[in-house]
């Protein structure tokens, strides 16, 4: 049995008597330590699926188990990282990282030690006493990553975490999260609409399509270690993904992702 097991999951929303199908019959199995990218255009249900996995939303049909147990509510073992960081602006960077540890009845000096450790990991040790508003977007997202890692979760759910960052910062953070996936052995489910991002990060790319939201194909990425965005292998897989979205030049469909 796989670590995360998504079976026949559908999610319907009803609004003004009309039913809207955000997810239809989704099946996916994920192994421990895997880096999965959910890739697709707006409305394909990728964020809905992530929200359900993280316990913020419920399935209409089907079932999801993580480590054999059904998902019913959010857990500190599965931490979500949001696009707008979700940092608490009234707390210092260090106190933000300590947030998740405060519910674990842990002495204050131990909390601080752990916060320091993960702030160094993301290269922000000297900003421990700053407030989030004083940091750039990329630094704020690093704080959010440190805060998530501080509670030593098994899974990181990432909901378009780098979408608001400029291109160069985004690539830097992609390399960092990829390294964290390898060094910290976390399972990562990463939602994105950026094809290059998915190819850089994922062990498997799950391609989703809208109306109704469902999985179209799953592309395994057989690149290992740190990936070179200009290598022929990288371009080959990127090509493959473009073809899946019918974005190859021969096609006339207009598709903005």
């Amino acid at each position: 049995m796989s670590y995360i097991d998504i079976q026949d999951v559908s999610r319907n929303y009803s609004q003004n008597g009309q039913t809207f199908c955000a997810l239809q019959q989704v099946n996916l199995r994920i192994s421990r330590g895997e880096f999965i990218c959910l890739l697709g255009p707006s409305g394909c249900g990728k964020s809905t699926l992530l929200n359900i996995l993280a316990g913020f939303d419920k399935v209409s049909e089907g079932s999801i188990t993580i480590g054999g147990a059904p998902v019913t509510k959010p857990s500190v073992k599965h931490v979500t990282i949001f696009q707008n960081y979700g940092l608490l602006p009234w707390r210092t960077v260090e106190k933000n990282v300590e947030l998740g540890l405060e519910s674990l009845s842990m002495p204050a000096d131990k909390r601080q030690k752990i916060a320091q450790k993960y702030l160094s990991l993301v290269g922000l040790k000297e900003f421990a006493q700053s407030h989030p508003a004083e940091l750039s977007g990329g630094m704020q997202q690093r704080v959010a990553i440190a805060r998530a890692l501080a509670v030593d979760p098994e899974i990181l759910f990432m909901d378009e975490p780098f979408a608001a960052l400029d291109a160069l910062t985004r690539m830097k953070l992609q390399d960092e999260i990829s390294a964290i996936n390898r060094s910290q052995h976390k399972t990562i489910i990463f939602v994105t609409h950026d094809i290059d991002e998915a190819v850089v990060l994922a062990d498997r790319i799950v391609i989703m399509t809208p109306n109704p939201g469902r999985i179209k194909t799953i592309i395994p990425v057989d690149l290992h270690g740190q990936r070179d965005r200009t290598s022929p292998d990288f371009l080959r897989i990127r090509d493959h993904v473009f073809a899946e979205f019918s974005l190859k030049p021969a096609d006339t469909t207009e598709y903005y992702i």
Binding site: W90, A133, V151
Partner: protein, 254 residues
């Protein structure tokens, strides 16, 4: 520097028109004072300590009434904002009470609390209470969902959710209510002190009127205005600090 020029210009404008009105009106100086006469009156009650004593009394009542009111309103607003099903019952009551001028309650307030400090305290309390309560309830309802998700994710339950996450998260929005309430409460302080008390700036106005001392009346009016401005500037500074800390772009004319 530019600010100082504006200030001096405004002051000159007021003094000139004031003097002009006094001349053109041709009223008895006991009924409408000139600027010079008012300055003399000001010097008189400043020297004998009456003015400072009344300012002290009024500020004491104001700070006590305002602080009690906003603390209670914020606490109640947090709870009611979170438990919207209770608020649904209380909301109509608040909406009916809110537009009533606190002064209208005066006869009942005097009946219940007697005279002395209490009537003006109660009036300040009422004046500050509703703006803060309503802005707190609205702010809780409109909180950024991401804060709640983060709290849920890290297993933060009540009451820590209210104290650690929700209250600080919405504080910038409550601060607007605090600012509004400060102005309203200050306006009603004077009204409260005009009745049922023998001290404070409101009483100074009544006393000056009864003794046909228009110069002291004008002194009291100007003092109330200047103190109100100072209180407002103080809370504006606080607001700016909060906006900076929370990373919210300042409104240009805040």
């Amino acid at each position: 520097m530019k600010h100082a020029i504006h200030l001096i210009g405004a002051l000159l404008l007021v003094l000139i028109s004031w003097q002009a009105i006094a001349w053109l009106g041709g009223w008895n100086e006991a009924l409408f004072p000139t600027p010079v006469r008012t300055l003399q009156g000001f010097a008189e009650i400043l020297a004998d300590g009456v003015l400072l004593k009344d300012i002290g009394t009024s500020l004491y009542r104001f700070l006590l009434g305002y602080t009690t009111s906003v603390l209670l309103a914020m606490a109640l607003g947090l709870i009611l904002g979170w438990y919207q099903n209770i608020w649904a019952f209380l909301n109509p009551i608040a909406q009916v009470l809110r537009p009533i001028s606190p002064v209208a309650w005066l006869p009942f307030i005097v009946l219940v609390f007697g005279i002395g400090d209490m009537p003006s305290l109660v009036i300040i309390f009422l004046a500050a209470f509703f703006p803060v309560l309503l802005s707190t309830v609205a702010a809780v309802a409109g909180i950024e969902p991401v804060y709640l998700k983060v709290a849920q994710n890290f297993g933060i339950g009540q009451p820590q959710l209210l104290t650690k996450i929700i209250f600080p998260a919405i504080f910038p929005r409550i601060a607007t209510g605090l600012h509004l309430a400060l102005g309203t409460a200050w306006v009603f302080l004077v009204a409260g002190e005009m009745v049922g008390t023998q001290s404070g700036l409101g009483f100074l106005i009544i006393d000056a009127r009864n003794n046909l001392r228009a110069d002291l009346l004008m002194t009291a009016i100007i003092t109330i205005g200047v103190l109100g401005l100072l209180l407002d500037s103080a809370i504006t500074l606080l607001e700016k600090h909060i906006y900076r800390r929370w990373g919210i772009p300042e409104r240009s004319n805040a």
